[in-house]
């Protein structure tokens, strides 16, 4: 995915070496994928399902903020 888009970065993190990160993201089993600190995918998925789930959360967020001001968190 990282090669397919200039916006995407893929980071493989070895959980046993960095327990603080594993704790921060509540990693109790691997593989676990965290997307933009928002979406979590547990386990390994087939390619299409993985891409869809990884990016679907992102799309939802775009829909929520459409027409509103980014970062305000409440509607007037």
């Amino acid at each position: 995915m990282a090669l397919a888009s200039p916006h995407i970065t893929a980071i493989a993190i070895e959980a046993t070496e960095f327990p603080d990160l594993a704790r921060k993201y509540h990693v109790t089993g691997v593989p676990k994928t965290v997307v933009n600190d928002e979406v979590e995918i547990l386990g390994a998925l087939p390619e299409r399902a993985f891409v869809e789930q990884a990016l679907a959360g992102l799309r939802n967020r775009e829909r929520e903020t459409e027409g509103g001001e980014p970062g305000t968190g409440h509607r007037e």
């Binding site: 916006h7 970065t9 493989a12 070895e14 070496e17 993201y25 593989p31 997307v35 933009n36 891409v51």
Partner: protein
């Protein structure tokens, strides 16, 4: 003493032979408080002997902080996979310094040992020009991305 046995070395040599562009691995390391840095160096050092297209460069996290920050790296050991664009098929890649390395935006944080070594090899092959095996639908979803997306994949060596 090589970590990889002769049969696997040959398999890797064969796989790397298909690379169409050079890959430069940036190995982020620090002198103190990095128990797995020497092991990571050893793992990475296995690769250049298997292909002229693969090189490894060590970047000290403390001494070259800005360079590490440019890749979003704040821990060691870590590896960023870069590649050189625009090498025409059949031509020899230019030597070292003149190349412009493009960031593949693939990172490995922690020693790429065990199964992660396979992931590293795959990353090298993909950065080295292997056609992406993404489905049409996936490509569509990915093309629609217009803001930074960071995928953090937590793994263990076994």
């Amino acid at each position: 003493m090589a970590l990889i046995g002769p049969a696997d070395q040959q398999r890797l040599r064969d796989a790397f032979a298909a690379m169409t562009r050079p890959v430069h691995l940036l190995f982020f390391t620090q002198t103190l408080d990095c128990d797995l840095c020497p092991e990571t160096r050893q793992i990475l050092d296995e690769l250049p002997p298997l292909s002229d297209q693969i090189s490894v460069e060590e970047v000290n996290l403390i001494l070259e902080r800005e360079r590490a920050q440019a890749f979003g790296i704040d821990r060691a050991p870590a590896v960023a996979v870069t590649y050189a664009n625009g090498t025409a098929p059949g031509s020899a890649p230019p030597e070292g310094g003149g190349l412009h390395w493009t960031d593949s935006r693939i990172r490995f944080v922690g020693a790429p040992a065990g199964y992660e070594f396979i992931s590293l090899v795959q990353a090298v092959l993909i950065a080295g020009g292997r056609p992406l095996s993404l489905s049409e639908e996936s490509r569509r979803l990915i093309a629609a991305v217009d803001r930074p997306v960071t995928l953090q994949v937590f793994t263990t060596p076994t």
